[in-house]
Point group: none
Chain length 212, copies 4
């Protein structure tokens, strides 16, 4: 019934890993510090993880699962696909700001050449989700019919990544919602039929620029 002791410490390690990685960096994140902050020794760490890289992959996976689940909850709602797109985006944006695990995951997913096999899965998932929602939005009349959905989906994922990165570099992510809203304002202007543009832009403004 109760959670196994093992799982608890494993979670602890994962979380402090996220913390340290978010603050420093994958390589600058010392295993000892991670372990220390989790309240265990490195010996204990190596009982749960094969090595540092595996820990990183675990963080990535945990973040991905977490984010995907949050998205899922929104996808389950009975609203237009376009609303879902914006809501997921806004929700993810918030979780970036609030959640260290998410930030760590992104960081790791973004760092190139760091691992034997670079983690492509999360990006693919976001793109896939994007494709799905956009196609639906086309059917619902919220996105123009002559739009290349897959090109857009891939671009949105990449653009989001870039905006998030720049926001982190320039303002430590303080203006992230604003920047993401700007992105959507542009994209909505392009991809929605003119009669819906204003509506969705306003909706985006609400989602991104008003405190919860």
């Amino acid at each position: 019934m109760a959670q196994m002791r093992s799982e608890v410490t494993q979670q602890n390690i994962l979380l402090s890993a996220a913390k340290v990685i978010d603050e420093r960096n994958y390589e600058r994140a010392a295993l000892v510090e991670i372990a220390e902050q989790a309240g265990v020794t490195t010996g204990a760490f190596y009982f749960h993880f094969k090595n540092k890289e595996e820990l990183a992959h675990a963080v990535i996976e945990a973040q991905n699962e977490y984010s995907q689940q949050r998205a899922e909850r929104i996808l389950a709602m009975d609203v237009p696909a376009m609303e879902k797109i914006l809501a997921v985006s806004a929700d993810f944006t918030r979780s970036i700001i609030e959640n260290q695990l998410v930030r760590a995951g992104i960081r790791l997913t973004t760092e190139v050449n760091m691992f034997s096999e670079p983690p492509q899965l999360p990006w693919n998932q976001w793109t896939a989700l994007s494709v799905e929602l956009w196609t639906q939005a086309v059917r619902e009349g919220d996105i123009k019919e002559d739009i290349d959905v897959s090109a857009h989906a891939e671009f949105v994922t990449a653009a989001y990544a870039g905006v998030q990165l720049l926001s982190g570099l320039m303002t430590a992510r303080k203006d992230l919602p604003q920047r993401i809203f700007n992105m959507w304002a542009i994209l909505i202007g392009e991809a929605t039929p003119s009669e819906r543009t204003e509506h969705w832009t306003n909706r985006a403004r609400e989602l991104f620029l008003t405190a919860q």
Copy 2:
């Protein structure tokens, strides 16, 4: 006119730094390896640079200057601003693929929290350049008048960064031109008056998708 010997070795160090950093990473780039490849000893290295971080900044600066100069050459041409936008973008894209220094510079500029003071300058310069060209393009009628130029400029920079990053992660930058073209196709569709859309899209296609 002959280059000082000092400058030569300094340049050598810079170049092999770029090489190693591009291949590995800032932290994984060992000074000894850099020095070795430049044909000098670490002792010599410390004669030319205060420390590793300064070297990194030097790489960034060198890359920035190089890229800015290439842009300059295009800006000096007597063509519409919109053409310049696309040409600079295409030229930069090519230099990413071909030039290790450029890749290293980007990598360093992109890595967060790595340095005491993160290098914001390059990003600001690209944004500033973007603003300038877009404003001009508005005046020339290639960009719609009701467009928020600064929002677009900033977004384009960020989006470019994101697309470049993703392309690196997914295909080792092999599809970078294609992806950047996709970006432009979307943005052109949104920002140019409808009667110019086709023209600029075709122009972009030429610039990005035809072998030199």
Copy 3:
């Protein structure tokens, strides 16, 4: 009559210890690996053995007992002492090649300074056995009367050890029988009366150099 469960696992541990120690080395033989191969956890290991050193001693003892028993069987036969000498030697040689436990035992017995108290017992036993058989062989006229038996006995033990070691180093024990035969050819030439020399040399050749 059924073996206790405890004894079974203990035996398992002993055997995989022998395996790993033979392959690697005392220090390179990780307890976890040994336990793993025995199908138990390290926790279980520590129930049966006090620590790693005790395990090593157990391996030595097991090997010694095993080898001594095989010798015993030959000693019980009704043949000349000289025949016993050669037969025991040949039998031991074969067991070295075939039996991991024997190899591990030898290895541990040979490695110096490894343990708080170096295992001298096996060597003494071999020497004692040697003395006994040689004395008898003298009585039986197979060994010259003016021979210093104890000097020979001690030397044979040591020489055997050395030959075995060198054979291991040079040919991974592939030529062990040949080398041991060479040893006996020399020693027989020296220690047997001239009219028996040929006979025993031929006998040794049979024992060592013909497939079973």
Copy 4:
């Protein structure tokens, strides 16, 4: 003229490596301890040696060269080959007792499976030297003509190794000269013509059993 600083510390490291390895063991010889005793830091160590294994090989090589040179000096003397055989053997025996480097070298050369490529060279050199001297001794009438020289040479090397090993195990090499003398007494009895046996046995006794 003066020795380079580098060579001095390198020699220091080598020597303390020999010390620690002789006392402990290859694996139990901690690099820090070696470095400490050489008066340098591990950092300095890694400037001179690639890794621990290379150090071991360096020790082996140094010992081998040292021993070979000592042998050379004896070989240069104008005495019968048989005298050389015994003298080299006695000299080597003494150096084992007195010289830590020699002991460490032997230890490393003896330990099996320790290195990527086991050091076979020293053994081969000893055997080669042995062959050479024995052949000469045959020509000089000190060794019987019908003797298989190469078999003897190889056996002597191995037997010496074994005797040395056992002496180390049983009496910390205190009785090494006595044991080696025993070996020679036996071998001389077998390999020399009967009219020379006494002479060479007495000579061996002098060389091994009288204080210098």
